[in-house]
Amino acid sequence: MPRCWLKEFMKSTWFEVARPQKIDLNDWSQHFRLVRDEQIKEFNYYHNPEWGIYLSPPATFMVYGARELKRLKFDNSLASLRMWGFVFNESERLFRAKQMGKRVIATMGDLGTVPVIIMAFPNCIPFYPECIWWTPFFKESTVLLDTATELGIPEAACFSKATLAAFHKKAYFPKPDLIFASTGASCDDYSCIMQLVNDLGYEMLWLEIPFRRHNDEQYPDRFEEYLISEYERVWNKMVELTVINDKTGLIPSIKKANRLRSLAERIKQLTYEAPITPLPALELMTIEFGNLYGYADLDEWLDIVEMINETVAKRVEKGIGVLKQNAIPIAWITPSADPLLLNLVEDCGLRIVGTEYVINQALVPIEENVEPFRALARSFMKASLIGSTQERIKRIIEGVKNERIKGVLVTNMLGCSHCAMETRLIEKMLSKVPVLSIDVPVPFGITEQLRTRIAAFAETLR
């Protein structure tokens, strides 16, 4: 067999035949040599093959400063490679969006459904500025956190303070054309940060989030009316910006959001229920967060998630996966700011079969047979943060009751107001299973002691 033909053959089939596993950066660099040039050109964002390519190995982003990628492990599928390249490329994508004449709209993550409204307008890209809280961990750097401290945020404050630094530096995303921020039953840390961003000179529209006193099925109609009136304000602001006023755009936007939500949900269910975990927790968490706004190119993100869905389905069909069959199922409450923790937990023989990442508002389906704003309001009323702690973790409690979940891990951030109050309560409510509560350390701060605690927790469950 001629050597070049063999090489091409390997390039085309390697991803199909490779055994699923978690691999590190060096492994990915090796495998990336098998990716064809055509495949690299095939995947691009904003339909721009000139500068929109994003299929790069983790090494690319590592060279550009994402130091933790040297230590992280990733799923070895082409779909995951595509996902990571796309996600890490987001900052560049936002700048390119603005260069292309698109409007870039910052929407706080708490708002959940506001991006769906933004995406009803052509050429408008919503993004979630608080996403920047991952950056200090991926970079193993306190640059953004230190800058936030210089700007006045106390040291003992949630890592989302990196957002203020990012707005100050203007190097992580372009100046948004509009900013929608939230207050009320959302997150004080986010709200306080955005007030300081306001003080930097950024104009924003504040939306008030009502506290959902009741469960997410039985609340007074007026809460929906409040939200609808807030969404009208968002709409009017967008009309002012774009000079377009066509509410029919909401229908395809909601359909797309639902398509994404249902795909993400399917992937989660396949992963949770398969005897052997087909997709690692880190990739799964990234997919969940993608529901918020599609990482600044929803169409491309949808395509990626479809590809991941196919990969996961195939693995489940074949009965293969990335972890051992005897991995112990646990639930994870509150997202880990440090992605390495997700790797660590799996290395200790655990698998994640349930999550509460404080973004339920972006996971639940949006009704399509109801007036759009009402549908959005109803889906938002299922948000994690706007109700009680008891409501927030009810799915986890259910999973514990039916013995699907053997243990629970709760991550806390020092200075996070919700964590400070909820964690002990959660431990009490989940008293039937072992609960491990860990404080996420600063970037590059995971110690042997923490590793030992997680390992000991896994032993307890065993």
Partner: protein
């Protein structure tokens, strides 16, 4: 003016066509770092940790915008069999080219993790990346295939063979390209951004025709490899590249580092497609007066920042090993003064 960005952030904005707070300032501080750190050159180019520490010392001293891991252009050739002398206080000197010892068929692609001084580079990159890589880009200079090819051969014979035996030269360049790719691959995994240096391809050494036939394909091959990683690739050719300016556009390089070229001419011909780097006369840096340096740098940067796709204030070639540190400081402070982008 107060700087709010660190070099990493500043470089990141440049390569996505955004204006940072001020232009990046990256004089080619390579072996000069040994002088700044007060270590012997031999220690610098044989000990990776020493190289990295010297670079970090230089960054702390000068506050410029990148670390440059480099000593001399023979590093790949040496790993492929060429022999060099190691003076204590000077850079390695070619003693016996590999192809004067054995045939081209005996040339092997070196293993960057084991062979010769390639591991020194990698160690330097890893050290620097670990120490400051979150804030400062780590640039690792990779000799381009043509330059390596010349270092594998008797230089005169090599140049003669570009006319008498072009196929032999192309074979040498092909294998040098493979070696450069493998080296770049490991540099990337260590955390460095490979930048190509091809000084022996300059107009001061070869004709534009020879450049197009031999040097250009080697550069293109390496740049194509690096583009698979979506890197923005820097190509540095010192000397007079005026005769090959239009050919530089064909390399695929995203940033072009120039030496003896009229800056305005380079901006006119290249700036619509490539970011310009350069190009202060290093002799002046070595021997000029601080005041003279300051005014010339300011003038240079004033023009440079008009480059359409972006500009990095730099020296035309490596900062002389024993350049007065005061002169280098003046270069950087003058560049900072003139390089602000005002909204």
């Amino acid at each position: 003016m107060t700087e709010i960005l660190n070099p990493r952030e500043r470089f990141g904005l440049l390569v996505i066509d955004e204006k940072p707070d001020r232009c990046n300032i990256i004089p080619l501080i390579t072996s000069h770092a040994a002088t700044v750190a007060g270590i012997k050159l031999k220690e610098y180019y044989t000990d990776g940790e020493a190289m990295a520490k010297a670079q970090i010392t230089a960054i702390e001293e000068y506050e410029h915008d990148a670390i440059s891991i480099f000593s001399e252009v023979g590093i790949i050739a040496e790993a492929m069999g060429s022999e060099f002398n190691y003076p204590d206080d000077d850079l390695p000197v070619l003693r016996i080219p590999a192809l004067t010892k054995f045939d081209i068929d005996k040339l092997k692609i070196p293993d960057p993790n084991k062979d010769s001084r390639l591991p020194v580079y990698l160690e330097a990159i890893e050290y620097a990346y670990s120490a400051v890589g979150d804030k400062i880009p780590i640039l690792a200079y990779v000799p381009a295939p043509f330059t390596t090819g010349m270092m594998l051969s008797d230089p005169n014979q090599f140049l003669l063979d570009t006319i008498r035996n072009p196929e032999q030269i192309k074979k040498i360049i092909e294998i040098s390209l493979e070696a450069a790719i493998e080296f770049s691959y490991e540099i990337i995994n260590a955390g460095g951004l490979p930048i190509l240096v091809d000084p022996l391809a300059s107009g001061s050494v070869i004709s534009p025709k020879a450049y197009q036939e031999f040097a250009l394909p080697g550069e293109q091959g390496l740049i194509k490899f690096l583009h698979r990683y979506d890197f923005d690739v820097i190509l540095h050719i010192c000397g007079d590249t005026t005769p090959i300016l239009d050919l530089l556009l064909l390399t695929g390089a995203d940033l072009i580092s120039l030496d003896k070229v009229e800056l305005n001419l380079a901006i006119e011909r290249l700036a619509p497609k490539m970011r310009i780097i350069g190009n202060f006369n290093t002799t002046k840096l070595g021997f000029g007066s601080p005041d003279g340096i300051a005014s010339q740098v300011r003038e240079m940067v004033k023009h440079g920042i008009k480059a359409e796709k972006g500009y990095i204030a730099s020296t035309g070639c490596e900062v002389p090993i024993r350049a007065p540190t005061g002169n280098v400081k003046v270069f950087i402070s003058a560049a900072k003064e003139a390089g602000w982008f005002l909204d």
